[in-house]
Symmetry: C2
Subunit: 106 residues, 2 copies
DNA sequence: ATAACATATGATAATTATATCATTCTTATG
DNA sequence: CATAAGAATGATATAATTATCATATGTTAT
């Protein structure tokens, strides 16, 4: 591991939250400002801002200023392949959970 | 997103824990049983077992029975490229500043 | 059979993360 | 300047996760 355990912990922690994942998912369609994200999700503004800060801190989204608006864009270079990779993993290993349950019954 | 938000949340949540990350890191060198993991890490046996269960549940480690021992092996096909990918991301978007901040928190 | 070791499980106290509230900062416009 | 709208920040009660304790299960050897 190139970096400290804590660095990886916080990186994954940033993605281990349903609201942040939903924000990411919405931003995948294109950049949006905070109010727009609130409208689409129904989330409170402060909650969105707090969570966007976490995502930006980890380089998962980028911020762009436009007047009084702050537009956020997802880091496609990272997020897109990351989610695709995990999809592949899940397809291959999610079935193991069932197998394991059968094994224990013996 | 192919899967539900919760599925991704729990996947990343499994990796958002320093003890589980340390266990993964040790298993990268080769398969080990629970006692061996405890010895190397200094962790309690019950804590290791609990965390291994989480990792196994998500297909991040595999279990192999050998007498009274249970050997755990990391899912290299997933974990290795995943960590490498994140290293690349960190080099480009975060790294140094974060590492330093984590150091200070100790 | 039972002792001794290896591992797993369940409950819960303690830690950590999170949403919410109150407030402040920023920018645009009358 | 004053006001309003968009966004960020800080404090904190709540919710979620985690380590620990007590105990159970499984395995080997005596």
């Amino acid at each position: 591991m190139k970096h400290s355990i804590k660095t990886y912990q916080f990186f994954f922690g940033a993605l281990a939250n349903p609201n942040r994942l939903q924000i990411i998912n919405i931003l995948r369609q294109g950049k949006k400002n905070v109010s727009e994200i609130c409208q689409v999700t129904g989330f409170e503004q402060t909650m969105v801002s707090h969570n966007l800060k976490v995502l930006e801190y980890h380089g998962m989204v980028f911020r762009e200023k436009n007047g009084k608006f702050r537009y956020y864009a997802v880091n496609k270079k990272t997020i897109k392949p990351l989610l695709e990779f995990i999809d592949t993993h899940m397809e291959e290993y999610c079935c193991r959970i069932l197998e394991e349950k059968h094994e224990r019954k013996k």
